[in-house]
Symmetry: C2
Subunit: 110 residues, 2 copies
């Protein structure tokens, strides 16, 4: 079963901020909720939930709405999106393929 979830305060804060950023971005661009919803391919109800910071919304729709509302996702960083993506992909190859906890206690437990 898909039990009811609990979210850390940090998570709820981030969700709330994301929603506000989208709403602000939308209004500053003079778009109505219906307009943005249409562009994002979602219902106005869902957009309303997004701007409210609801945790159950699909992340793809949230990011899409954010993008259309002019909210920078990772572009605030120095690197462009594709470049950053490539950089992370390379970084991943340098990491071990799987995480194994050594049975013999190492000295990182304090």
């Amino acid at each position: 079963m898909k039990r009811k979830r609990t979210y850390a305060r940090r998570t709820r804060q981030a969700l709330s901020i994301m929603g506000k950023l989208i709403r602000i971005g939308r209004m500053e661009r003079g778009m109505t909720a219906q307009e943005l919803a249409d562009r994002a391919g979602i219902s106005r109800t869902t957009l309303h939930n997004i701007e409210k910071g609801a945790p159950g919304v699909e992340i793809g729709t949230v990011f899409e709405a954010a993008s259309l509302a002019g909210v920078p996702l990772f572009e605030n960083d120095e690197t462009a999106l594709s470049a950053e993506n490539a950089r992370l992909a390379e970084k991943l190859t340098l990491l071990p393929k799987s995480v194994r906890t050594s049975r013999t206690e190492v000295d990182d437990d304090f």
Copy 2:
């Protein structure tokens, strides 16, 4: 009906980056997928989808996993989370409550 969605390249990039950041953060902290999934209160399958950048996952679970993996959500900014949230809330009150497109064409159509 909830038709199949399309996402802008920008959105897909952001999703991919988010997934990679979580995976990298998890591994750097020496956590197995099962461990992080347990802490986030989700199944390992869902975490796998998250790290893959799947757009259909609930944003709350993604943000929760990110938080637990040490991925900064909006904390990379100068302001703390709650302060930023308050700042945005105030900014919202300063904006008009609703967006109305004036019937008399204003000079913003070129």
